[in-house]
Subunit: 199 residues, 2 copies
């Protein structure tokens, strides 16, 4: 790209460093900022810098947080006896969205994946095992993606938790609600028949 | 979306205000910034704020510029006798990319579009007419999109320039280079037959 302005070029390159944003998209974003009031750009810039400089990982659960301990762990109304283990903050948000869960979380930061060079030591597993030994903890729910890596991670964590006096469970897997049977993939459909439940 | 962090929420909302960026994409961008060094976010924030606060429209051609007069208009090697009229800075960049043009530009800021409520007064047409009366200007090239709105704009500007002593031309329209004839749309193909040139 030929830029006649250095300012535009710098901003485009900075945007284009973000995942999924190419140079053309970056230029579109920058030109849209030019067309809007200066305050919009200043607000965006401040939100980015302030977020990155002040964000921390909750020392209890590993969730992203504005404070040392995250708002979910701080919340007195949440049930501290149930810990839901997830891969990322995105999963925390997805589960919170359902409004079906009142326990607390533990964010692993990924799943065990030998291909990508991610071993158990790279994830927040030790802290989970430590938390799970606390007398108030009764159950650990594994809400991990139903992939080979996810299953490996569940298997590994389950083994680590044999010492702790907790019930380990996994979220239900089967055909999606609202989905049509004929469009379900065969593995999911097969397993959901094997794992059938009494009505 | 349920955010457990206010900082993340603010940053996501700021990103989601940009065109073509939804909340999910915004969250992906914010989380990728969290995973990278703080300097990356600070650099992005600075590039955005500095760009918006210091960018200006060139007083001569309307192009975006770091200074009062843009780098193209300042360039002594550019031929000031030819003005290429374009809709936006994006078109300036596209033409510069070709390295086939050594004249200067005039950025209209859009095309006449009664449907979108854009009239001649909303565009940089007056300044173009004024520029074109200068004795050094010999030719005005219309490099406007071949749409109904574009043609209307060309027609209007051409009429305004009858007083000025300049040659008004339009970029060539026809089948694309490297394209196959059978895939060209019929209007383009039809017109390119009518506008055939001697070899």
């Amino acid at each position: 790209m030929q830029f006649s302005s250095r300012l535009i070029e710098d901003a485009v390159n900075a945007f284009a460093g973000l995942p999924g944003i190419g140079k053309k998209t970056a230029l579109r974003l920058v030109l849209s900022l030019v067309q809007r009031p200066t305050e919009d750009s200043v607000h965006l810039a401040r939100a980015i810098a302030s977020m990155r400089e002040n964000i921390q990982h909750c020392i209890t659960c590993g969730n992203l947080s504005d404070q040392t301990v995250c708002s979910i762990c701080r919340d007195q109304r949440r049930d501290k006896s149930i810990i839901c283990v997830v891969e990322s903050i995105r999963d925390v948000m997805a589960i919170e969205e359902t409004q079906q869960y009142r326990g607390v979380y533990h964010v692993l930061g990924g799943v065990i994946s030998p291909i990508e060079g991610i071993g158990p030591a790279d994830l927040n597993i030790d802290t989970l095992v430590q938390r799970s030994t606390a007398p108030e903890v009764r159950e650990v729910i594994m809400a991990i993606s139903p992939t080979i890596e996810g299953d490996t991670t569940i298997f590994y964590i389950n083994k680590q938790l044999t010492e702790a006096d907790v019930q380990v469970s996994s979220i239900a897997r089967g055909v999606s609600f609202g989905g049509e049977l004929e469009y379900a993939d065969e593995v999911t459909l097969g397993r959901s028949i094997v794992a059938r439940r009494k009505l």
